[in-house]
């Protein structure tokens, strides 16, 4: 494994959130580090901590400033001081086991109305796009946009395609979309601008379940063609 850069920045996002920034990049190494930092902060669990949530290359640490008080330092300074100790330690303890999910899907036609456009724009056939799409596992970089929506990557550059110029007002739940070198699965019917290449019946977010989100940051996803 490559040596990971140790530099990070801790910036305030208002009075109750400290953002640990590892740079403005999409990289599996950097994201692995963000996920392990979030885990380390949550398990360290200082009194004012509400929660830590990882994104692509950053971690948001939410805290209750009323519980981080001292005579001279502001709540943000107190939290930053704690994080400066936790963050470097998190890098070495990153041994989290990756969960792999299999997601059966159907591609093209009404389930993937943009498959043809993606193929045309990339100079491939629809079958080739699907074959390339299915050829690798994708990492869950983060969940966001909608509850349980996984930001997956990284796509083979041959099929990376920019968003639609006009977003759709209704994307059906289960739709699999492409945006640049990312892919994702819509958990709910919602508006959306990603290129839709297929759809799955898998329930990505089930509010009635103890663990409502199917994916967690750091998981792996393998798509298969549904029988």
């Amino acid at each position: 494994m490559k040596a990971e850069p140790l530099d990070f920045e801790i910036l305030p996002l208002g009075e109750d959130c400290a953002v640990i920034s590892l740079g403005n990049v999409i990289s599996e190494d950097v994201n692995r580090r963000a996920v392990s930092i979030a885990e380390a902060v949550n398990s360290f669990g200082f009194e004012a901590l509400i929660e830590a949530a990882p994104a692509y290359s950053s971690v948001a640490v939410y805290y209750d400033p009323r519980k981080a008080r001292s005579g001279v330092m502001t709540p943000f300074q107190i939290v930053r001081t704690l994080l400066k100790q936790i963050v470097p330690a998190a890098v070495t303890s990153a041994t989290a086991e990756e969960r792999v999910h299999t997601v059966p899907a159907t591609f093209g036609g009404e389930h993937g109305p943009d498959l043809k456009e993606v193929a045309d724009r990339r100079g491939l056939s629809a079958d080739e796009v699907v074959e390339i799409f299915l050829s690798r596992n994708y990492r869950v970089f983060m969940l966001g946009f909608l509850p349980g929506f996984p930001y997956l990557g990284t796509l083979d550059q041959r099929i990376a395609t920019s968003r639609r110029s006009t977003p759709r007002t209704l994307v059906p739940a289960g739709s699999i979309g492409i945006a640049g070198s990312q892919t994702g699965i819509y958990p709910f019917d919602s508006p959306g601008g990603w290129q839709l290449i297929g759809r799955t019946d898998v329930i990505v977010f089930d509010p009635g379940s103890e663990e409502p989100a199917m994916f967690r940051p750091g998981d792996s996803v393998r798509f298969t063609e549904a029988p």
Binding site: L11, P12, L13, G14, E15, D16, C17, V19, S21, N24, V25, I26, A38, I50, E51, A52, A53, P54, A55, Y56, S57, S58, A60, Y62, P65, R66, T74, P75, F76, M142, L143, G144, F145, L146, P147, G148, F149, Y151, F188, S190, F205, P207, G208, P212, A213, R216, P217
Partner: protein, 317 residues
């Protein structure tokens, strides 16, 4: 102990102070848009600050109390009436069985709250009574309130003093042209010097398509030095994102947990209620303050609220 919706409003939901601990799954905290109002009203009634309340937009619901209770109304000024008589806001008031609460018109503000002694009893989702309309969970079956809905109200603490009023330091805060104090966002440095200046000097008008997700603003175009793509990162209510069309968006209680637009500022927590009450046509301005000033303002509110809490304790029987 219960109350009944006899006429539905345009958007009435059960809310509390929101759910935390699930942002890593993309689940936003949600909850009341005007948190300060909810905390004040619940404190007035001797409730837990996080007790569930009804959040209403205008036109608001008409609500009949099916049992004697004690209530408090506050937030936006929608001219509340009980049995046709005007009632004071920010005051705990006894109500009798079959009396009806209605709202006569909107003077200012975007959302009003009804708190009931003991709180509204509804289903919880992920540890909160807040209604998440998107997921369809929490509150009254995850949906907006409809005519005929009957909601249970807590019996805990159902008897106690009424006629108590929150002081003006807490409640005199709704201005038609609020100046929202903001702290610098992580991407503030991307603004051009001209835009950074315009953001602080010019006035912005609240657009009609503002809602619980965010407040859209019309005003001078704000620009960044380069429009390179940002990798998605955390956002929270009060975060001011700069949209690609050059207009700022103040995120609300139902905002996403992450976003890819520049976070140029964040409204300080003491002024989040002002932002939450800004409605179509209102004009807002921004003033940059230091994080220290933001914490000082937060402490002032907390102190005023704790005085209210202490005052009630002395008057309790």
């Amino acid at each position: 102990m219960s109350l009944k919706i006899t006429k539905a409003g345009i958007l009435d939901t059960v809310q509390d102070l929101g759910r935390t601990g699930y942002r890593a799954l993309g689940v936003n905290p949600g909850g009341a848009a005007d948190r300060d109002a909810v905390r004040i009203l619940n404190t007035l009634l001797g409730n837990d600050e996080n007790a569930a309340v009804i959040e209403m937009h205008f036109p608001a619901a008409t609500i009949e109390f099916e049992t004697d209770s004690v209530i408090a109304v506050g937030g936006a000024h929608f001219r509340p009436h009980l049995e046709g008589f005007s009632i004071p806001e920010w005051t705990s008031l006894p109500v009798k069985k079959s009396e009806s609460l209605s709202f006569a018109g909107r003077n200012y503000g975007a959302r009003v709250y009804l708190a009931v002694r003991g709180g509204i009893e509804t289903e919880q989702w992920l540890g909160s009574s807040s209604t998440n309309l998107f997921v369809k969970a929490g509150g009254a079956g995850g949906r907006r309130l409809e005519k005929g809905d009957v909601l249970g109200t807590g019996i805990e603490n159902a008897f106690g003093p009424s006629g108590l009023r929150a002081g003006r330091t807490l409640t005199e805060r709704f201005l038609r042209r609020p100046v929202l104090r903001v702290t610098e966002g992580p991407e503030n440095n991307l603004l051009t010097a001209f835009s950074a200046n315009a953001f602080e000097i010019e006035e912005f008008e609240v657009r009609p398509d503002s809602n619980r997700m965010g407040i859209r603003l019309d005003g001078p175009q704000i620009h960044t030095v380069d429009d390179g793509e940002l990798v998605s990162s955390a956002v929270a209510p009060g975060t001011i994102q700069l949209l690609p069309d050059g207009s700022p968006l103040i995120l609300g209680a139902d905002s996403q947990t992450t976003g890819g637009y520049p976070r140029i500022a964040r409204v300080i927590s003491a002024d989040l209620s002002l932002a939450a009450q800004a409605s179509h046509g209102d004009r807002v301005r921004f003033r940059a303050v230091s994080l220290e000033e933001a914490y000082a303002a937060m402490c002032r509110f907390e102190k005023d609220l704790s005085f209210l809490r202490l005052g009630l304790r002395f008057r309790a029987p």
